[in-house]
């Protein structure tokens, strides 16, 4: 039965087809979903904000390429978009006026230490952008916390909109004048804050798109935001501000939307199952409100997500899927 030109056949284990989703497709879609918030940021804070985003992305991508090529001898995977996301997310949670070296140092830390020292994409425990932000907070407290007025000076990277209020920190920083912003400004983003976190609408749009595409499970943002909303209403607040117990204000102001839709939903650092994701979202909400209400730091999103990242393996352990035919019928 043998044949001179017998065909060479490929033999692999089943299944022999794959679905449409792969890492680059997921990651680049997330990049797209992040774009609206960034555009608002650049519109509000000027081209310097764009410059910060670009620096951060370049630093993240270059760091990854160098580590993979020269240190690990792996194929370079920067084209998959995951380092780009880390770069963007890091820039989005930096004040618009930070010195140029801050995003670079942050991105290098995020990629080299938080991501690759723990085994690279899929093995990192903490969200790289958030962990880098926490690191910068400690390493460079001055530019991170107070250098936010730089924009007022003008110059090539000046604020293109000329909106006055953009010289202050997050609306949750009552010490910066205790100014209260109306809901419309909070929704559109016409408030001071970090580059990508101010416009709730832009973030919600991007987030909803990711939910629609199936890259984000609604349980995380819904659990997170609903928990903050409820706790903010009913927990006794120590802060003296008109918005202290205003749940809508708490939900819209600060980094909550960015955190709930784009940070807490990071696949790698959040639980695996739907049950776990709901627990995770609620946990983030509880911690965020507790930090905002009772800790020295006015914003709780970054640390609460990092803490919940740490708790992910435990959540995973207790939220395993139910084997068919086991337990309830």
């Amino acid at each position: 039965m043998s044949n001179a030109q017998e065909k060479v056949l490929l033999v692999t284990t089943s299944p022999h087809i794959r679905g449409p989703e792969d890492i680059p497709r997921v990651m680049w879609t997330v990049v797209g979903a992040l774009a609206p918030a960034g555009l608002v940021g650049v519109y509000l804070f000027g081209y310097y904000a764009l410059f910060i985003v670009i620096l951060s992305v370049l630093a993240a991508v270059l760091t990854e390429a160098v580590i993979q090529k020269y240190l690990l001898g792996q194929p370079v995977s920067v084209k998959d978009g995951s380092a780009v996301i880390t770069g963007i997310l890091l820039a989005y949670i930096l004040p618009p006026g930070v010195p140029w070296y801050i995003p670079i140092v942050g991105a290098i830390f995020a990629i080299a230490i938080v991501k690759h020292a723990f085994g690279g994409l899929g093995n990192n425990i903490w969200n790289p952008a958030l962990a880098a932000r926490a690191f910068l907070q400690v390493a460079y407290p001055a530019p991170i916390n107070s250098d936010w007025r730089v924009l007022k000076q003008g110059g090539i990277f000046s604020n293109i909109t000329g909106v006055d209020s953009i010289t202050q920190a997050s609306p949750l920083f009552k010490e910066f004048g205790g100014k209260t912003y109306n809901y419309t400004d909070l929704l559109t983003g016409n408030v001071p804050g970090c580059i990508g976190e101010t416009s709730a609408i832009a973030l919600i749009l991007g987030g909803l798109y990711l939910i629609y595409r199936g890259y984000v499970d609604w349980r995380v943002p819904a659990g997170y935001i609903a928990t903050v909303f409820i706790l903010a209403k009913f927990l006794p607040a120590k802060i003296e501000a008109p918005w202290a117990n205003d749940p809508i204000y708490h939900v819209l102001a600060g980094g909550l939307m960015l955190g709930a839709f784009f940070m807490a939903t990071d696949m790698v650092t959040s639980p695996l199952t739907k049950k776990g994701l709901l627990v995770f979202g609620i946990g983030c909400g509880v911690l965020t409100t507790l930090i905002r209400f009772y800790a020295a730091y006015p914003e709780g999103v970054c640390y609460s997500i990092l803490l919940m990242n740490t708790a992910t393996p435990i959540i995973d352990r207790y939220t395993q899927p139910r084997l068919l035919g086991q337990g309830k019928k």
Binding site: M1, S2, N3, E6, K7, V8, L9, L10, V11, T12, T13, S14, P15, H16, I17, R18, G19, P20, E21, D22, I23, V26, S77, G119, G120, L121, G122, N123, G214, Y215, D217, M267, V268, T269, S270, P271, L272, T273, K274, L277, Q320, P321, R322, L323, L324, G325, Q326, K329
Partner: protein
């Protein structure tokens, strides 16, 4: 849409491949394939103990003559699928298991004539359940959906288990395959008759026919064939893989669950697919052993996809050539794209009872696997409630015992997890390898145990045994 989406019965998990490939062959009527010049009949074409050849080299056999005898209950007879002469009894790698397996080779000769006593109309009305079971057992009927579980065993439920539902599985959820669909369209009455034979054999009053909603014409045909019979319900099912797997079918139709490793009988149900039910009809009504079946020859690797009635043991090369194999075809699969088995060679492969499809792919490639990014897609897709992400990681790092604690052995290898995996991880491959490795370890441990016992038994006489020397 035929019925409101809400009415469609379904299950949890599963996948919706966007291109199901059915259109390639679904409108091709079943035609008889040319008889093979030489038929190669494996003595193991079923789950269970291999059959023992009851013919010798040089024997002349008739079509349908028993050439392999099932030595145990969980086994199945093998019959000559062509009339001719036994030219060899040898060993060849099995197209499904890959193991070297005994094969009876028959060179076709003379007329295509049935062995005496076969191919005669039977009086089904007068039969007892045992008569039916015996005919089915004699016919060597096995599950034709791929798993090839001996049918008479499925029809002999343990005394303490009650069957209150027979399900005719017309879902045919594997993409590309259309053999069951064609049978439902062309042999509707016969298939329903087969279903009634099963009901009679099991003494079961209720039956269901499950058909995926993408086969509305088959649904209509079955509806009219069933007519006013109040005991047979025809159900439309959501188009989703693996809708036709026993667990998912029973969950969708009866709302009952049982563990992946358990049999449908635990849920009071018995499931047979269309091809098997047709084979049962042939076996009981006409005393025709299982010597042929419908095979879909399909995929983008052939110019002319079709559905052929193929004698079991037919070499696939002429079948593929007749369907005009394309130049760049580079993968040949027994079965569908999700659970089918890739063949190493076109020239050596022959069909077996479980072969319902030959799927030919062109430009098939491999996927670059990455570390798990914990997207959870595999967990959502697993219709059996496993954690494929964790299993793949544990199996990859060879933590087999831990994998067992996370239900490794409950995995049905349906492929859903691997299909959806964002990181393109070969999850099923890792799971299969782990199971294989565990089975090997177990076998080795058993051997070691035996050797130890043998040593112990010899320990006492050993002194005298060595003394004379």
């Amino acid at each position: 849409m035929l019925a409101g989406v809400k009415e469609l019965k379904s299950f949890n998990g599963g996948i919706h491949p966007p291109f199901d490939g059915k259109s390639l062959s679904k409108n091709k009527e079943i035609t008889q394939a040319p008889l093979p010049e030489v038929a190669y009949l494996y003595m193991s074409q079923h789950i269970g103990v291999p059959a023992k050849p009851v013919v010798a080299k040089g024997d002349v056999v008739k079509k349908g003559q028993k050439i392999g005898e099932a030595p145990a209950l969980v086994s199945a007879h093998i019959h000559a699928t062509v009339a001719g002469k036994v030219t060899d009894i040898t060993f060849k790698p099995h197209p499904v298991t890959g193991a070297r397996t005994q094969v009876v080779v028959i060179q076709r000769e003379g007329d295509d004539e049935w062995a005496p006593g076969l191919d005669e109309p039977q009086d089904v009305e007068a039969m007892s359940p045992d008569d039916i079971r015996n005919l089915i057992r004699e016919a060597g009927t096995v599950g034709l959906g791929g798993a090839a579980f001996p049918t008479h065993v499925k029809l002999s439920p343990p005394k303490d288990k009650k069957v209150d539902a027979v399900i005719l599985n017309g879902a045919e959820c594997e993409p590309y395959l259309t053999c069951d669909y064609r049978l439902l369209m062309e042999k509707t009455k016969e298939v329903i008759e087969g279903l009634k034979i099963i009901m009679k054999c099991l003494g079961c009053k209720n039956a269901y026919v499950g058909i995926e909603a993408n086969k509305p014409d088959a649904y209509d045909k079955v509806r009219s064939a069933v007519g006013e019979d109040p005991h047979i319900k025809v159900e439309l099912l959501e188009v989703k893989y693996p809708q036709g797997a026993e667990h998912q079918l029973i969950k969708a139709i009866l709302g009952r669950e049982f563990k992946p490793t358990q049999l449908p009988i635990e849920a009071g149900a018995v499931v047979h697919n269309v091809s098997t039910t047709y084979a049962i009809y042939e076996a009981v009504k006409y005393k025709r052993p299982l010597i042929q079946r419908v095979v879909s020859i399909t995929g983008d690797g052939v110019e002319n996809p079709n559905n052929l009635l193929v004698r079991i043991g037919t070499p696939i090369e002429p079948l593929l050539k007749a369907a005009r194999l394309k130049e760049d075809a580079n993968k040949v699969i027994y079965g569908g794209p999700l659970m089918g088995i890739a063949q190493p060679s076109i020239a050596d492969a022959v069909t077996v009872k479980g072969t319902g499809g030959l799927l030919v792919m062109r430009n098939a490639g491999e996927w670059q696997s990455r570390a798990c990014i914990r997207c959870g897609k595999c967990v959502d897709a697993c219709p059996y409630g496993l954690n494929p992400s964790l299993l793949s990681i544990l199996c990859e790092s060879e933590h087999f015992q831990q994998a067992m604690e996370f239900n490794l052995m409950e995995c049905k290898e349906c492929g859903c997890c691997t299909y959806v995996c964002t990181s393109r991880r070969p999850i099923v491959h890792l799971i299969k390898t782990a199971k294989y490795e565990l089975a090997r370890q177990k076998a080795r441990a058993q051997e070691a145990q035996k050797a130890k016992e043998a040593q112990k038994a010899q320990a006492a006489p050993a002194v005298t045994a060595t003394a004379p020397k």
